[in-house]
Symmetry: C2
Subunit: 461 residues, 2 copies
Amino acid sequence: KEPPGPAMKTNVPGRESLRLKAELDKIQNTDAVHFFVDYANSRGNYVVDVDGNIMLDVFTQIASLPLGYNHPKLIAKMSNPDNMVTFINRPALGSFPPADLVDKIRGTLMTVAPPGLQHVQTMACGSCSIEHGQKAMFMAYMRRERGGKPPTAEDLETSISGQAPGCPKLSIMSFNGAFHGRGMGALACSHAKWFHKLDFPVPDWPMAPFPKLRYPLEDFVRENEQEEQFCLEQVEDLFETYRQKGAPVVGIMCEPVQAEGGDNHASPAFFQGLQDIAAKNNGYLLLDEVQTGCGVSGKFWAHEHFNLREAPDVVTFAKKMLTGGFYYKQEQKATEAYRIYNTWMGDPSKIMMLEEVLNVVHQNDLVNNAADVGQFLLQGLLDLQKLYPGTMKNARGLGTLVAVDFPTTAFRNSVVITLRNKGVNAGTCGEAAMRLRPSLIFTKSHASVFLTYLEATLKDL
Amino acid sequence: KEPPGPAMKTNVPGRESLRLKAELDKIQNTDAVHFFVDYANSRGNYVVDVDGNIMLDVFTQIASLPLGYNHPKLIAKMSNPDNMVTFINRPALGSFPPADLVDKIRGTLMTVAPPGLQHVQTMACGSCSIEHGQKAMFMAYMRRERGGKPPTAEDLETSISGQAPGCPKLSIMSFNGAFHGRGMGALACSHAKWFHKLDFPVPDWPMAPFPKLRYPLEDFVRENEQEEQFCLEQVEDLFETYRQKGAPVVGIMCEPVQAEGGDNHASPAFFQGLQDIAAKNNGYLLLDEVQTGCGVSGKFWAHEHFNLREAPDVVTFAKKMLTGGFYYKQEQKATEAYRIYNTWMGDPSKIMMLEEVLNVVHQNDLVNNAADVGQFLLQGLLDLQKLYPGTMKNARGLGTLVAVDFPTTAFRNSVVITLRNKGVNAGTCGEAAMRLRPSLIFTKSHASVFLTYLEATLKDL
Ligand code: FES
């Protein structure tokens, strides 16, 4: 079913993509459109565009397609008429849940819950998952501050207009280079690119430096340790700074691998340190696994690589999980109605599709596949890096979360464009990184195609 | 197909709902769960719960089901294998749109665009529609402030950490009693209930009073005019107050009918006044039609009742539209890539379902139906109000956006619970209102059932 390899008819975007883009631009800004896709004819790891170009897709809808295009098991799931009712009648899940909700959540999200987390709330996308995860932390923090007492009449009343004490000055710490989403609360914790934030008022919340590791890691052990130590000290200081500013930090929010910010990794020791500093300051730890979850790291959740002494307090997910949501501890469970709530609270049709995704992941051992194929990809990049020493550097990865840097933004962009015109659709991130986010059914033979095409590109440039 | 009427076996929630609720409560807070639904057996305007109770549903998943349960046209749409590809391959719409996106948007959202608005951006839910609509206003405002000059290096740099001048102090004005969503930006404009906001830090943005009209309107013409005039003066003052506070107001955000806040209506003159004051202060006007759009008001958009001298700058939608999003003017169109953006940017499978919804709305003249049946409902409530003068008051409505007040919160709650146990599922809002939000296929005979059951309830209490 999957094409044997890339097959190109035009440069990308081709004529038909450009025509459609011009039409769409009458309705909305289209500057971020890469090309228009023929989804009906896309298969597995290959995306087909409207000009008939067949490309190996190592970006897969910004890391959001778990099983590639038109997976037969998902088609079968959709074809079952019993499942139709779930697509047609979208419930207000928080008030009128479907009869099978408990079974479906137990059979899907709870089977892959991060060790130590027994609660989960579905949401619709990464951004609302983050913002409600933040709220769970704010509520837990203030419950503790009130020492078990109920909120006062003044608390309730001032909350309506958004004033203290009902809406207290609190903050969440995040990192330079982080990206967590576009809602104002998620955006306040995002520090990756100007176009995410320019012109938008966001609260003054602490931004800590994220370690900038030097590669190859084995040659910079001491420097990297120092760098992480420095960042941890800043984190510790910011707790104090914002306490003094009157906007205490209720928790730290962090990606296990900073994705949009440039695929920036840190060591398990760094994350262990974050957890310790958070605890010491009576703060919580939220790990944002929207892009790193669902097996891509070679474990189901990337933070399982970190040997944390206990579970993070909140773990958010979306993208390949199809449904958004967050796992959390008992302490973060809401204690009143309508606190963590909105009209839809997710979408059971996405949970149904996730059910089939998890079946396939389990049956085909796709988490271990991600570990293996990721290792193979990374080794391939390390080998190419040796062949092109002035051109490619800092190859790094955790499972299939693999990236490599080029000397400049412009050079990186020409690599990605040339590669695409040859037949491989890759992503970018940070200043000068190429980001790989293949599906979970990506194999070593796909990785070989990618490496071959990348080498041809490097030869051309 | 639709049951002939309500048929109850137990009180609601019944034993099976309670059992499932206890199970779900191990995973998440369930205090907002009313009952568990047997979606497979629900039909048209009748919802069936897991205890076999058949209820007339005049709340319809918090106003979000356009055609009731399991509409045959939606089943047919889902059964077409050609449509499956749209459900299985969710695109990153902003970068890799499907071949038919332009046609689908033109054939759906553009056919019902509010007069004067030629642009639309899909989003996933009400909250992200609001927050991106806010961003469109912030960007337009700052573009104008920069007078056509590009942002400075300092703008770009400071935006990363969220400091001025890149992230300037700006605000959006909203109203006491408003509800716009749960993301921090939407929440900052929401002032309806403490449980939406308590413990959550939100920016200090201006909250203006919303008119509290006295009913019957014809008896309080002068008082209501004065009330609206007073509110408009406050709006005007708040522009000045926040200019002096250094957080200028870029726009006013308002629901055509305040829903969660208590089904509060205002006159066309009030909305005309808002538009004039906004313009005078170089601000924009965002009307939030998440709950009032899609024909329920008796016009496709509720603000079409207001005879505004020009279109509002931004109009948001979600709920019955199935997809979220916002319409906007040329001035609010983003001028750079990735400014109004996220991974999914909505979901084409929802646009596909909307296509069929709009077909049915058109073929069956459902907008005019909403006007007729709404008038019938309101008249029925006015008649009942006369029969139960100490009990029910302030019956009001615009199309099927109908509500009535009871003397106290507790009394309202017993009306709604008693009514539900008899076989009608209604909603609540504000302090003491019962809120009706039937589907678009709600007819006068359904309205008669509702009125009969309500009268029986009032007799009982
Ligand atoms: S904010 Fe997540 S779907 Fe709208």
